[in-house]
């Protein structure tokens, strides 16, 4: 049976795929990751996570267009599946419920930081 829980790094990657839309392929995602979190990550690490998320059924992928800057090679574009969306919702709800139990804090998602492994 496939593991269906979401790790924190996986959650970020999944969100980034959603944000990037048509441009969601390994290199772009790793760039965006760096942009958003100010942390370095290798393309290989991102690619490996994407593959895992696909295996879990949260993503699906198809080969997209080729461009000259890639030496004419095609890229693999990832899109979020319904269950991917669902699992993101769950993760968010879970956190919100935790925040609500936190004493002295209103529900405020702005300051939320992910602890990345």
């Amino acid at each position: 049976m496939k593991e269906t829980r979401l790790g924190e790094f996986e959650e970020v990657i999944l969100l980034l795929v959603g944000i990037l839309g048509e441009e969601a392929y390994s290199f772009k995602i790793s760039e965006e990751f760096k942009e958003q979190t100010k942390r370095n990550v290798s393309i290989g690490a991102v690619h490996s996570t994407l593959t895992r998320l696909e295996e879990k059924g949260f993503l699906k992928s198809a080969m997209g267009q080729s461009t000259a800057e890639r030496g004419g090679r095609r890229k693999r574009i990832y899109t979020i599946t319904a269950s991917g969306r669902q699992v993101l919702e769950q993760a968010k709800d879970f956190r919100t419920s935790l925040w609500q139990q936190f004493p002295g804090f209103a529900v405020d998602m702005v300051g939320l930081n992910f602890v990345l492994r």
């Binding site: 290199f27 290989g44 490996s48 080969m63 890639r70 090679r73």
Partner: protein, 870 residues
């Protein structure tokens, strides 16, 4: 400017394509390339390439790696399987694994340390670029007692040979720095002690001692020039730059001159046998020789001569060409010459009948063989423990064979196991060597460390694989030969006779080696003890000596009188050289009845009054030099060996001819060992000539050493301001003569200990194994009434027989080895039977103790425990 567009590193791409799964290749390469060109816009091409490599390496993840090249191959599956089984086996038999690992690690560490030592020893004096063309001149003289070979040559030999032999490119004379002890240097009213030598202007063209400043050609061409080492430059001038032209006053043994620095050379490396802090010019050597009235002619032999042949000359031919060179210059000479490679003289330092033979080389063989033996002992442990365990692995072998494993598969399995252990042992011992090498170096007086060059690692790898193969081969072949049916039926393994013999033979071999080493340690120790305690004919305890320099040169008598007055000083005198070793010898002696054909070499000791009582040398006949008599300088004293060699009946009162002067024999001293105990006492002449002495010798009362030394130092400092007193102790110098033997003694003790330890480890493992297999038997015997000791006896007997056999083999072997080593000494201990008895007893005792540790446990088990399962 290159216009070639930068592209991603090809090698990285190739590497990626090699391991990455085919279906991923396109997108991955695309992503990486896109990133590469993106990075190029903001970063340098080199940096972008580096990032590319980084990204490629980060693709080494399970999801991306192609399956076919790593996990689908049959071989890799088998290999993994072998590794897994090895791992499980190690876990199951922890004790034998630890025994093997400890044994192999210790042995490898020893072997590596010995290897480092040998490597350093072999490389000594070999670092000169011209090594192959550098020859040292050796002179041979036919004496009545045989051919003597020495490296002393006439002072002007080098320049004469350059003129006479076109094949010589350069040549130099060298006065070894050991001749002078310490020079006293003075610069701006400060005094320094340093070792130095004289050498010809070709010195730096022949030897590769790199220069920091000054030129090879001219550095030693000024008569009043000096080349100094970097260290000395720092010591005197606090810098090694811009010191050329600065002046230093050099002084030794009453001779001095002011010289100016002509260059600085890098400190002499530890792998050079010549040690010197500065070099003076050859012309100055001539002048100083002149000042002391030393004649330079074809009959006077002193300095060493080194020649550099040109590229085309053949050293062997050259050596035979110069055979009669000295005779061609001086018809009266009896000396022949040969030339041997300069660097070979370190290991081959002995001459037999004029031919260069071993010498230090013996030590290399000795330690090399010890290293091999220790390795063999450790490998034998491994073989024994593994084959002994064969029975417990019968089922495993049976099942594998039934499932179709070939002999090769099984061999692979066992070799994997042994390789794994040898690899582990190698890693551990490399770490150990890194820690121990400097310590080992300090014991052996070398600078040793873990070398980082590729040859060393290659050797490590070869030794590691070799050990694994050697240790694992027998068990592998043995186990893979077992019959399938027999194995799977779970039947008892009928150990074949040959197998038992091999195992027993190996134990016997181990113990034989250990026993020989024990005997060796005892014999070397006894001989060294003998050397320390043998009556030498003179007293070396509480005797100090120091250089005669500064004011003490001209006012020797006044100084000695002052010294003698000090409380605690028993006697004081002066001598030309310290009586340890050969320093000065002559054949220029005539007496009535001498056979003119016979050449007898006499050692010459030049002394001041009172040297004999100072050193406790006894007179056999006649009297010592005495101030009460007149014309003492025209008298002479011999030792008994000289009288015997000359064949004089009543020597006292006879006239002899010494260096062309008539001398009256006034006394004969008893033989004393002025050379090492390797040689018999040679003929000796003692002549009186206070102004030619160079060292002041003082005998101190036994109980007042410290206060007397302080008093002597105060007197010296008051008498000789500026000159630092550098005191030597005669007994310490005496010890130094036997450094090689001390080294052998220390090291063989260590290595014998280690060999015995490893042998015992093996015995322990074997004993634990046999007792484990016989627990049921022990249980039954105990029920039937056998006592604890009866059972221990039963279990021990088997091994005892092997140890006894080892003793029987080891005794004649060790007798032979010790006798041949003792032949190096003219004065040696006689081997007594108890040495062998002690070694045998030690061996047996150690073996028994080891086995007792194991068997006593087995013998005291409760029979109910081991029989219940039945």
């Amino acid at each position: 400017v290159s216009t070639k567009p930068t592209s991603p590193p090809r090698l990285a791409q190739k590497f990626l394509l090699w391991f990455v799964r085919e279906e991923l290749a396109e997108e991955v390469l695309g992503d990486l390339e896109e990133q590469f060109y993106r990075k190029l816009t903001s970063k340098s091409p080199a940096r972008a390439k580096l990032i590319y490599w980084y990204q490629v390496l980060h693709y080494l993840r399970p999801f991306a790696i192609t399956k076919s090249s790593f996990s689908h191959s049959n071989h890799t599956t088998m290999f993994r399987h072998n590794l897994l089984l090895s791992y499980r086996n190690i876990l199951r038999h922890k004790s034998s694994f630890i025994i093997n690992l400890v044994g192999l690690t210790t042995a490898l560490t020893c072997a590596l340390l010995i290897f480092l030592w040998i490597r350093d020893e072999v490389a000594i004096n070999k670092f000169h670029t011209n090594d192959a063309r550098m020859l040292q001149i050796i002179e041979h003289s036919q004496l009545a007692s045989g051919i003597t070979s020495l490296n002393s040559t006439p002072d002007f030999l080098a320049e004469n040979m350059v003129a006479d032999f076109p094949e010589i490119e350069a040549a130099t004379g060298i006065t070894p720095s050991g001749w002078f002890g310490f020079f006293t240097l003075k610069s701006e009213d400060k005094f320094y002690k340093a070792t130095g030598q004289f050498a010809g202007s070709d010195f730096f063209k022949i030897f590769s001692y790199p220069l920091i400043s000054g030129s090879k050609e001219s550095i030693l061409s000024d008569k009043l020039g000096v080349a100094i080492s970097e260290d000395l430059a720092y010591k005197i001038f606090n810098t090694s730059e811009n010191v050329i032209g600065k002046s230093i006053r050099v002084e030794v043994q009453g001779l001095s001159d002011i010289v100016s620095v002509t260059g600085v050379f890098e400190n002499v490396p530890s792998q050079s046998t010549e040690k010197f802090d500065f070099i003076l010019s050859w012309e100055l050597w001539y002048e100083w020789s002149d000042r002391v009235g030393r004649n330079i002619n074809w009959g006077n032999h002193g300095p060493e001569t080194i020649v550099l042949l040109n590229e085309t000359a053949d050293p062997k031919q050259f050596s035979s060409k110069i055979h009669n060179y000295i005779k061609s210059k001086d018809e009266n000479s009896h000396i022949t010459m040969s030339a041997v490679p300069y660097s070979s003289l370190y290991l081959y330092n002995k001459f037999e009948n004029g031919i260069q033979e071993g010498g230090r080389l013996v030590n290399i063989w000795l330690f090399g063989i010890i290293a091999l033996f220790i390795m063999a002992v450790a490998c034998i442990n491994f073989m024994n423990l593994t084959t002994a365990r064969a029975a417990t692995r019968l089922k495993e072998v049976g099942v594998k064979k039934a499932l179709g494993a070939s002999k090769g598969n099984l061999v692979g399995q066992y070799l994997t196991e042994s390789m794994l252990i040898s690899l582990l042992a190698m890693l551990l011992s490399v770490a150990l060597v890194a820690i121990l090498a400097p310590i080992f170096g300090s014991i052996t007086d070398k600078k040793l460390g873990l070398p980082l060059d590729s040859t060393f690692w290659l050797i490590i790898l070869v030794v590691c694989i070799g050990t694994g193969l050697l240790a694992g081969s027998y068990p592998a072949v043995y186990l893979s030969r077992i019959k399938t049916l027999l194995a799977i039926k779970g039947g008892k393994l009928q150990a074949s006779w040959s197998e038992i013999w091999v195992r027993k033979g190996l134990v016997v071999f181990q113990f034989t080696i250990s026993m020989v080493l024990i005997v060796g340690v005892i014999v070397v120790y006894q001989q060294l003890d003998f050397i320390q305690s043998k009556g030498l004919g003179y007293e070396k305890e509480n005797v100090i000596y120091f250089d005669k320099e500064g004011k003490t040169v001209d006012n020797l008598d006044a100084f000695l009188t002052e010294i003698r007055k000090l409380p605690g000083v028993m006697a004081a005198s002066a001598t030309q050289n310290i009586i340890l070793g050969s320093n000065n010898s002559t054949v220029g002696l005539g007496w009535i009845g001498k056979n003119p054909e016979d050449l007898i070499r006499f050692e010459v000791l030049t002394v001041d009054y009172d040297l004999l009582p100072t050193l406790g040398i006894k007179l056999a006949n006649g009297r010592d030099y005495n101030r009460a008599f007149a014309e003492e300088k025209s008298k002479i004293i011999f030792n008994e060996a000289a009288i015997k060699a000359m064949g004089l009946e009543n020597p006292v009162g006879e006239q002899v001819d010494f260096w062309g002067e008539k001398r009256e024999v006034i006394g004969v001293v008893e033989n004393f060992h002025f050379e090492t105990l390797h040689q018999a006492v040679n003929p000796l002449v003692i002549q009186l000539n206070p102004s030619n002495t160079m060292k002041i010798v003082v005998k101190i009362a036994p109980n007042a050493t410290r206060s007397t030394l302080e008093a002597i130092e105060q007197t010296h400092d008051a008498f000789n301001p500026g000159y630092a007193l550098n005191v030597h102790f005669l007994d310490q110098d005496y010890q130094k003569q036997y450094q090689a033997e001390q080294l052998i003694s220390t090291l063989s003790a260590y290595f014998a200990g280690i060999a015995i330890l490893i042998s015992c480890l093996g015995l322990f493992g074997l004993a634990s194994f046999t007792t484990a297999r016989r627990t049921k038997e022990i249980g039954i015997r105990k029920i039937l009434g056998a006592g604890k000791w009866r059972i221990i006896y039963m279990l021990t007997m088997d091994f005892t027989v092997m140890v006894v056999v080892a003793i029987v083999i080891a005794i004649p072997l060790s007798y032979f080895i010790s006798t041949s080593w003792l032949q190096n000494f003219a004065y040696a201990i006689s081997l007594s039977w108890w040495v062998f008895l002690a070694a045998a007893a030690t061996g047996l005792l150690i073996a028994w103790t080891t086995m007792y540790l194991q068997t006593s446990k087995a013998a005291s088990i409760n029979p109910a425990d081991c029989l219940r399962a039945e």
